[in-house]
């Protein structure tokens, strides 16, 4: 992230370096994902109560957590944009919101798939699920407001403020299992995780999944930031060509 937010010194070589880094990252991500798949399906123990569906756990949890990270980056980059007013910050904020939305969507999907066998219903109006859904709405609104603003400049500012205030929902999602009676499992990661909530082997595989998913997350984010850079360049060229 530091490289993206840094100064544009030696622009061309810097950009080429970044492109190479993205290629490498793609490669590493692919390898990690493959190993992760192997671990999840071959190494992880089958759950005594839930059976094979429980393996979704190793996908569902990292993806949920990383969507939080996406929105955190979005809020921080939003603050950065409001202070600095450089497109660079906005690019990061926009990209992380998009990646975050993809990740919550996946969290919802994996959750729904998981819920069907264990709760006997696709969906429950239940705090964790409801607040996660709301999180999805907030960042969909983030992406909508960008387009609906009268000028692109306003779109950037407005989405930044929505991203900042929207982040308030993330801790609510996290703590929802505690605040309300929830049938969703309690936290296994983060400040409120209970000691020894998981078997050691499960915890280890979960950590590996987390790393693999983080690699994927980072790759997607960098790729999207780069793409936004190209889009911005294009509209700038168009503006310069437009003599009034």
């Amino acid at each position: 992230m530091a490289a993206i937010a840094g100064r544009p010194a030696g622009k061309a070589s810097w950009q080429r370096g970044l492109r190479d880094a993205r290629l490498w990252l793609l490669l590493i991500t692919a390898v990690l994902m493959l190993v992760d798949g192997y671990l999840i399906f071959m190494v992880a123990p089958t759950d005594a109560v839930l059976g094979h569906v429980q393996r979704i756990f190793y996908v569902h949890v990292p993806i949920s957590i990383l969507s939080f990270l996406g929105f955190l980056i979005c809020a921080v980059a939003g603050i950065g944009y409001l202070i600095r007013r450089t497109e660079r910050w906005d690019r990061v904020a926009h990209a992380s919101a998009e990646v975050g939305v993809v990740f919550v969507t996946l969290a919802l999907v994996t959750g729904i798939i998981w819920a069907r066998p264990v709760w006997n219903a696709w969906w429950q109006w239940e705090p964790r699920l409801t607040t996660t859904l709301i999180l999805w709405f907030i960042y969909v609104a983030y992406l909508m407001i960008r387009q609906y603003a009268p000028t692109p400049q306003q779109g950037r500012t407005w989405s930044a403020v929505v991203g900042i205030i929207g982040f308030v929902d993330v801790p609510i999602v996290y703590y929802s299992v505690q605040w309300w009676q929830s049938i969703h499992p309690k936290q296994v990661i983060g400040p409120e995780a209970a000691e020894g909530a998981l078997e050691p082997i499960m915890a280890q595989i979960l950590v590996f999944s987390l790393v693999a998913t983080l690699a994927l997350f980072t790759y997607l984010l960098l790729e999207r930031v780069a793409l936004r850079g190209i889009e911005d360049r294009l509209s700038q060229l168009r503006r310069e060509g437009n003599t009034d």
Binding site: F137, I145, W158, A160, V161, V162, I164, I172, W179
Partner: protein, 224 residues
């Protein structure tokens, strides 16, 4: 002090304008009454089916009314560029925000106070306690804060009316949820420890959080 002076000036202006035209209160009341009647007719089909949903209905009605009120508070500002006048004045953006927020808060509280007895009669709400009043106050503060903030954005877009709920509801739903839970407890009239130990503090945290964040970012909403 500077802040408060500016905020109160703005809020007082809104209150005065409203007392002139009464449009926000009148239309909100009409809508509130429609909601009560519809709920009553529509819901009261199975006897006793209303009691468990009453707190939810109360807050759904309040939420809709809040959206109407906050929309109006800002369209009035845009009529002849009054908002520019506020932004030109030597008061901080926080003061403008706070002023608009206090104005909306006042309207909403008035409307809520008028509608509560109506709801109590028509929805068979069991007990009206000071605790319920406090819950409503706390939730409405959070509501008005977030609502004012998003109304500031939505009013500058084309489809402002419909965009406001889309922006606003997701962020405010946690407040509504806490308010529903707390009101349910308060209405049951039983022991209210859960209200005091859990919901009221939670609402307070929300209020404090939004009251810190919203004024700060509000200034950015109005940059041409």
């Amino acid at each position: 002090m500077e802040l408060l002076r500016g905020a109160l000036t703005v809020a007082w202006k809104d209150v005065r304008l409203e007392l002139r035209s009464r449009e926000v209160i009148a239309s909100a009341l009409v809508f509130g009454l429609i909601v009560v009647v519809v709920f009553n007719f529509g819901l009261n089909r199975a006897p006793g089916s209303l009691a468990p949903v009453a707190p939810g209905l109360l807050w759904v009605a309040y939420a809709f009314i809040g959206v109407l009120a906050m929309n109006r508070a800002f369209t009035r500002e845009l009529e002849h560029g009054g908002l520019d006048g506020l932004l030109l004045a030597p008061i901080s953006r926080d003061a403008v925000f706070l002023g608009k927020m206090l104005g909306s808060l006042a309207f909403m509280l008035v409307i809520e106070a008028i509608l509560l007895p109506v709801f109590a009669v028509m929805l068979d709400l069991p007990t009206l306690s000071p605790t319920l009043g406090l819950v409503i106050l706390l939730a409405t503060v959070g509501f008005a804060t977030v609502g004012t903030f998003f109304a500031g954005i939505a009013v500058q877009t084309r489809s402002r009316e419909i965009l406001l709920p889309v922006l606003f509801f997701p962020v405010v739903v946690p407040v509504i949820i806490a308010a529903v839970e707390a009101s349910a407890l308060a209405l049951q009239g039983g022991p209210m420890t859960a209200v005091w130990t859990r919901w009221a503090p939670l609402l307070l945290v929300f209020d404090a959080l939004y009251l810190v964040i919203c004024p700060w970012i509000f200034g950015f909403v109005f940059e041409g």
